[in-house]
Symmetry: D3
Subunit: 133 residues, 6 copies
């Protein structure tokens, strides 16, 4: 199994609901450093898993839609805790949609699984991994 | 599959038995930077894999029992080489026990697998991964 | 010149005023990974620059007063842009105050300069460095 | 499942063929920081996955055969794009060959899978993972 | 003293002349991860050392002029060894020129010193530091 | 001012004397990841601060003399606490001695200052910086 991974980041404000979150129930924020890993069994005719340039562009666009926002005010997330692992799934879903829309190029048809990891600090991270097809 | 990972460290002395270890047969030591990753298929009702605060506390307590010790004098490890990969399994077992004792909170019931990785330097690490149930 | 450095982090929400900040004028947030470096010409009688345990406690307490807050609502920062470099100075000032209050231990009298660095992502950071005395 | 991972690096020149590569079609180069991870279900009699010393030597020798070269002039790679993911497979194959030749020691018989990851920068990497047997 | 630092990277081919370089006399290449640090005694009216957005754009443009090239064919470097420390000075000079041309914004007038660091691997780096004025 | 920095590591056991050290008074150990930075105002005729190959060899030899040892039994350190910052000075002194003995090559005459940094974990480090001449 081959993989390629690209990294970028975004910075948001949010708060959580639920006693389990303690002081994180207050409005605070985070920088998320995001790795998106694309996996497939074989390389395409160019010898790649995915065009790294396009992968970086898709990641930048995906994170750009979230960057510099207060996630508490994003209608799509109403009633949800936008935890690190929840956001990993959001970015996974949007990356899958971008791949299906052809934004990763034609060779991206061969991608089998995608893993999205968000580091929220030097000591904690969350991820979501799933199939593309 | 979702995951959450937390990091802490501990510092110990030990020695190894066996020609394969060369100069590491002498009494020396190591700092281990430890990542514990918790994985599950679905988030709990709060939108989390595990309470990161509790995960950090469990990890600190687990490593605290080993920290600042000479592992050659720990009865539990008698006759064993406390290699990086061996210690990864020790910490895995103790994390599993903590989870079963409820120390990770009720939502931790959904955790399926745990991976413990110990970096012994900037160029070498060891890990153990297994099922919680 | 000797130094010792310790690391911790905090997570906040804030917004900036001024066209130079572009989309960062919106309410967003950041994780800051903070390094505080203490420097002095000679070691104390114990052979240290500063008690690392106390340095970690002082750093945790200093960051704890900011952690999980919306800095736009902190009276002390009214009318200020809480940029990375501005916050480095805030943490510097509070660390100096803690040192003068004896919270770093008696040996801390020998510390000459302190440097506080805040990494706001994997690609950007800010710092403030000044004298303790 | 246990693992042990070791790290080293190599520096090469190369160029790519194919419009997808854009300016990377020009002769350029890269530093690759390489992690080789060895995995097995059980530890050997010494309590290890693999002799880390031997693993480091095998990795150094494997990378040494590529280091400081122009990969466009390596006959074995003629007609191929020596992308990060392609090179991960090359290093995987050579590590497998070294293991079979006994260069990792007798205990290496128990290794089940190997994963080779090449970081080409702080924001991009590629990998190949496969079975040893 | 305040500072702000931004990071980006570039990938080049080159060779060195001189017995001291050993096998690096062959055509090879490198990824350089570049940090540019801007320092000044006081913050500007917006509370910043430099506009991070502009600093990132200047760095990207500066590295873009070198990226994906064979430095042996760059007329400006004829007869020079484009070592890590040499390239740090090249990027320093070009950053200074950009600052003087106003590309860092009007507030950049207050910048006193700039330090450029190039990491060529996980174990080696070079830098150049000098005054802006 | 130019610099070049190289990295390696060593692993030791030791204990400390003094109430300030708390549980670190027990025999324990550490991995130290060591950066040695060489600084000079001008490059030599080859365009370098120091021969990186020789610098790496000197560092490996310097650390090799400490690696896999119990520092409590090293006569040279009797009566001393081998703290991170103390060891930074030890390695500084030995690097200076190596430079004066010509082990860094003839071009090393131009080196003005050396900084040695030891990271003892992902959250703490110590350093010593001084003049070579």
């Amino acid at each position: 199994m081959y993989s390629v991974s690209v990294r970028d980041h975004f910075m948001i404000a949010h708060s959580f609901r639920g006693a389990v979150f303690g002081p994180a129930q207050q409005l605070h924020g985070a920088t998320y450093v995001v790795d998106v890993e694309f996996r497939r069994a074989d390389l395409d005719a160019d010898g790649i898993v995915v065009d790294i340039g396009r992968a970086c562009e898709v990641l930048k666009a995906t994170l750009g839609a979230l960057n510099f926002r207060n996630l508490d005010e994003v209608p799509e997330f109403a009633g949800k805790n936008t935890t690190t692992e929840f956001l990993a799934k959001v970015i996974f879903d949007r990356t899958v949609a971008a791949a299906r829309a052809g934004l990763l190029g034609p060779g991206a048809d061969g991608i089998e699984t995608i893993k999205v990891t968000l580091a929220e600090s030097h000591v904690a991270s969350g991820s979501y991994e799933g199939r593309l097809a």
